[in-house]
Symmetry: C2
Subunit: 319 residues, 2 copies
Amino acid sequence: MSLSEFDLIRACFTDVGPCRSDVGLGVGDDCALLEVPAGQSLAVSMDTLVAGTHFFSDCDPSAVGYKSLAVGLSDLAAMGADPAWSTLALTLPRVDSDWVREFATGYSRLSKPYGMRLVGGDTTCGPLSVTVQVHGFVPPSAAVRRGGARVGDLVCVSGTLGDAGLALRHLLAGEAVDPSLRRRLEYPTPRVELGRRLRGLATAMIDISDGLAADLGHILDASRVAAEIDLMKLPLSPPVADAVSESSDWGLPLASGDDYELCFCLPAERLMQVKDFAASLGCSVAQIGVIRAGSGLTCRLPGGDIWPLAQVGYDHFLQ
Amino acid sequence: MSLSEFDLIRACFTDVGPCRSDVGLGVGDDCALLEVPAGQSLAVSMDTLVAGTHFFSDCDPSAVGYKSLAVGLSDLAAMGADPAWSTLALTLPRVDSDWVREFATGYSRLSKPYGMRLVGGDTTCGPLSVTVQVHGFVPPSAAVRRGGARVGDLVCVSGTLGDAGLALRHLLAGEAVDPSLRRRLEYPTPRVELGRRLRGLATAMIDISDGLAADLGHILDASRVAAEIDLMKLPLSPPVADAVSESSDWGLPLASGDDYELCFCLPAERLMQVKDFAASLGCSVAQIGVIRAGSGLTCRLPGGDIWPLAQVGYDHFLQ
């Protein structure tokens, strides 16, 4: 095996994403040197995907590359930030240039449309895992945090919930997986432009990575409020609606992870404006509930009963 | 096991390092929000340490925490940057609050003196590994890159070489390890202040993480020059000098990793000034060679012969 660590890095990761004038120095020195525009805060988020925990070891490397950046882009979206740069730490059991090339292809597929340049990172030998840090810009006063939800605000979500969870359920059971669901699991669409347009409109926002109940729960905790959501208003794709209808198990849209949709709170009078521009972005927005005084999350069941829901979500350590 | 991922993160990592006014939002939202001072570039570097590759799985967790930040600080030092913030991705086989607390203690031990605030990260379940990104500031024109070495410059290194390599050799052989060597392996001192003071003086700089030959080789490649170093001038601690003398194997100071000293190039007339302020920082600086026209690294042996040296170094994939 003649390919050294440095050759591997140079070959695949020196030119990922478009060139940017705010990158003084990219891959290849002790540090990258970067310029944050005046008047902008730097927004950063770091996520790790581990083989066997977050993806199957034999998963298409292109999907791993794509998704490792998508989860970070989704965090930027949830702050209303503009994507700028990424750094990548890739740990591989062995040098496998085909695997790395495909990984880089998936990573590039998402870097390009969002104008993100890969500016640095590390490549090491060990059990397969990927850590990505994303960096974006947002004017300090425009960042949408978790703690701003107010009593009376509407609770909204983008897209549909539970698709990735249903795909994963089928995969774990060794069953055939609907290709559209599988795409939602492996190639989720970070709602970057929607998040950006929600600056100044949403009072609180989070991306749904651990399941709606857990992630909305973070908004409620940070904002010190309660919420009541109406299960009949949860936006479900036909396969998820069928699965919920068959099993009466709401865990799929409420507590399965990897949706990477946005959950946000809005004063009621802004809903139509938000639905309009979301539609222009090709993304649906559903109002699913309302913020109340108090604490915790309650759910209105199809029959009209109100059901309290502990924040269960998807916890990597509890699986 | 009742401690959830979120509890674990909150308990140990919400208050690591001193508060800083440039942190608008730290741990606990989708992104951290950070302010880079006007006129400064952001310098970032990301490194991964994997159990079994970079440290022993039963290594003192405090040492793992310390070192995972030290390697990044050493990269900031090598650019002449001021440390500011860190992010941490910690992958653990299981929730082990004692381990995490000790890890955080080691991480804090280095965060505090350098004024670094931990501003975000991720905690996941999987084979033990740590990825840290460090963030620092440097005026764009003052950053010391690898590519500025000029023919006639002196080649210098800080501290002593090969101590960590000798400690590792003893550990791997199951032999007793000199405590001072072990400290150099597990608790290396990043040369942050020295690096900062070398702004405007050093023409090129790198930190020695993969061994002098490999890392000086990166300077030579980036600067398109050659170097001749004098093995008799390599700064060696007594145990390393003894080991080299016994075995006539120069691999220890030339090609063993984890030194985290600085290797830099200087016009000759600046050497005394640099030695003076290095001494005031409690750090020795040795002139070990000179930059020549051409390419590659040659070594003057004790007998006076000149020996060409391929860039071998420590390559994680080739071990």
